[in-house]
Symmetry: C2
Subunit: 225 residues, 2 copies
């Protein structure tokens, strides 16, 4: 079967795509929604423009769609891009990195049904600690690209998501109810390398923006090696 | 990847296994739980002993486990059989035919997490009418093996699940809130043929048992051709 994978730049979307590849299916394209609204429920991530590099690194075509990020209206933009991707790449279904967010998952599923596409979420309800720990072991190089929880300060930004990260996060997670996978939006991630990448991303220039208890690791320039 | 597929004999479990095959993965074994309790929340189906024939028809090994069918205790039996199947067939994950039942899905997922297995439900939240209509078109020969809803009488038992079935069911479904896929337990099904079967099942002898507004189509003897 041929799938289009929703791509935010973060670990969940790229790991879900990898699981589908491991099942023997093709990822025929990635689909990225670039929201102009930083408060979007569905789509905002700090380094969304860099999904281009991830698509290039994995030699998979990218469908990009901009949205104003107005609630519900942005779903029409998502539907449009899924429709176009499906037509262009003859897709059988869509892959999402949804883990627990019913809000995201049901809306994407509804669009897939309308388009006659299967919707598959390999991470749905997975054990979050096992999953996050497996990332580095399986060849994913991931950094923390945003923090949005009281207990996470600027020192987390740009650090690698590995065993040390999980141990450190677990120390604060129980106390502050932080999901290990960041499913409540506590942190965002960005993938620099994955087992199916033909090149890896190197960050040439980045800045840390942190105020009012939240922050982004904004990549200003990056390349492939 | 290699999956074990939970097999009840009905359409959902065999169609889910078929979708995983289409994704390019192997179904290394089927797993059937035979409950002695006809009221089991998880496992009862009228013709459960005939999953042997379905496994034989598809040339896929079958792991069978009996359970007394006591609530929660039966989950331990499921866990045991998943564990054994995983060891024997080196599984990466389990396939379920769950569509909407959170009760079933979350319990199976929990067991998979404990075993370090992926849990995949290709039919999860699918559009039920589209799915049931696609069965006959995709080469599934399925009959109604049980009816457990006020609006479904003995005349439904043994009939084929095809376009006529869906049209007929839709006439009563709105009025009586019957799910098209029978997800509320309104009806049970049994699969006689599937696109990956090497032989098809023929029913040699069957009886219809119907009383107090519910009934089973009980297959007494069947063979492969």
């Amino acid at each position: 079967m041929r799938f289009g994978a929703l791509l935010s730049g973060g670990k969940d979307s790229l790991y879900a795509a990898w699981k589908v590849m491991q099942m023997g299916s093709d990822i025929a394209c990635f689909i990225t929604i670039r929201s102009k609204n930083a408060e979007s429920y569905m789509f905002h991530t700090p380094n969304i423009s860099l999904t281009r590099l991830q698509a290039e690194a994995s030699a998979i075509p990218l469908i990009e769609q901009e949205t104003e990020g107005i609630e519900e209206k942005e779903l029409l933009d998502l539907a449009t891009s899924i429709h176009c991707a499906s037509e262009k790449f003859h897709l059988d279904g869509i892959v999402t990195g949804a883990i627990q967010s019913v809000y995201q998952a049901t809306r994407i599923e509804r669009i897939c049904h309308q388009e006659g596409l299967w919707c598959i979420s390999p991470l749905w309800q997975c054990d979050q600690e096992t999953y996050v720990r497996s990332l580095a072991n399986e060849g994913f190089e991931v950094i923390v690209a945003g923090v949005f929880a009281d207990s996470l300060d600027a020192s987390w930004l740009g650090t690698h998501i590995d065993r040390t990260f999980v141990d450190r996060l677990k120390k604060v997670s129980g106390k502050y109810q932080i999901s290990i996978a960041g499913e409540g939006g506590e942190y965002e991630s960005f993938v620099l390398n994955a087992p199916f990448f033909k090149k890896r991303i190197i960050i040439e220039k980045a800045e840390i923006l942190f105020k009012h208890g939240a922050g982004n690791y904004r990549i200003i320039s990056a390349g492939l090696v």
